[in-house]
Subunit: 136 residues, 2 copies
C-alpha cells in the first residue's frame, strides 16, 4: 500500500521527507509526544490505526509500543494548514515517554504560573525591578 | 538578554538551530499550532510571556499576533524528554491559524472514528474485504 495520492499531494515534507506528528490523548487532551512521519509511517498509521512513526536516529519505521507494549490506538488524524504537521488523537496504553513518564513533557517545566495563578515573571520583569504597589 | 545557559544546554536544536514549539490552549487543551523557536524566540517567550517564534520563511523572529492582534499569553512552557520540542500552554486571543480557523488543525481531517464511535476503517481494512458478522 502507498499513501493516498490526494493526501500525499498536500504534505509539505522537510528536507528529509518528514512531517511532524503530535500525539494527543483522547479525552484528557494531554499532549503526549512529538515524533516524525514519512509517507509510509502516515499510511501505516491511517491503515492500521496504530501510531507508527519514522525514527530519525534509527532511520526506520517504528510502531509505537512495539517493544514496550505502550501502543497507541489512533482515533483521529488531522493535517495542519501548511501541510507539515499531523495531529493524532490517540488512546495511549501505559506511558507515552520512553523514560516511563506519562508524557514526554512531564519532567522539565521551564515556566509556570505562580501558586495563586498569577504570572510569576510579571514582577521580576518589571523594567526597573521596583516592587509592585502590592509589595510596598 | 540571552537564554538561561542551563536551559540552553538542554536544548537539542536541529541543523537550523531550531526546536519545535507546540501551542496548546489552556483549559480546553486544544492543540492550536506548531511553530519553531530559536534560542532568542524561547528567551523572549519566557521573559515576556507572549508567544514568540522564529519564522523559517522570513528568517526572523515573530511575535504571534503582532499584525493580526491574535496574540498568545503564555502560562506554561515545558521542554520534552529529548530537548527538541517545547509545549506552550497559552491563552489564545482570536484565531490561532492564519486562515482564520480557530486552530491550524481544523480544516483537514484525514481519519476519524465512525458516527457511532466505532473505527470506520476496521471493516474497510479487513484483509479479504469480507463483511463482518454484523453486516451479514
Amino acid at each position: 500500500m502507498s499513501l493516498n495520492p490526494e493526501i500525499a499531494a498536500r504534505l509539505k515534507r522537510n528536507q528529509d521527507g518528514l512531517v511532524c506528528a503530535v500525539a494527543q490523548q483522547r479525552g484528557t487532551g494531554e499532549v503526549l509526544m512529538l515524533a516524525w512521519m514519512n509517507d509510509e509511517a502516515l499510511e501505516r498509521t491511517l491503515a492500521t490505526r496504530r501510531g507508527t512513526y519514522y525514527s530519525r536516529s534509527r532511520q526506520r519505521l517504528w510502531v509505537k509500543g512495539e517493544t514496550s507494549g505502550h501502543t497507541q490506538r489512533v482515533h483521529e488524524v488531522r493535517l495542519d494548514c501548511d501541510g507539515d504537521t499531523v495531529l493524532l488523537i490517540v488512546d495511549q496504553v501505559g506511558a507515552a515517554c520512553h523514560t516511563g513518564d506519562h508524557t514526554c513533557f512531564d519532567a522539565d517545566l521551564l515556566l509556570a504560573d505562580g501558586p495563586d495563578g498569577a504570572d510569576q515573571l510579571d514582577a521580576a520583569h518589571k523594567p526597573d525591578g521596583a516592587p509592585t504597589p502590592a509589595d510596598a
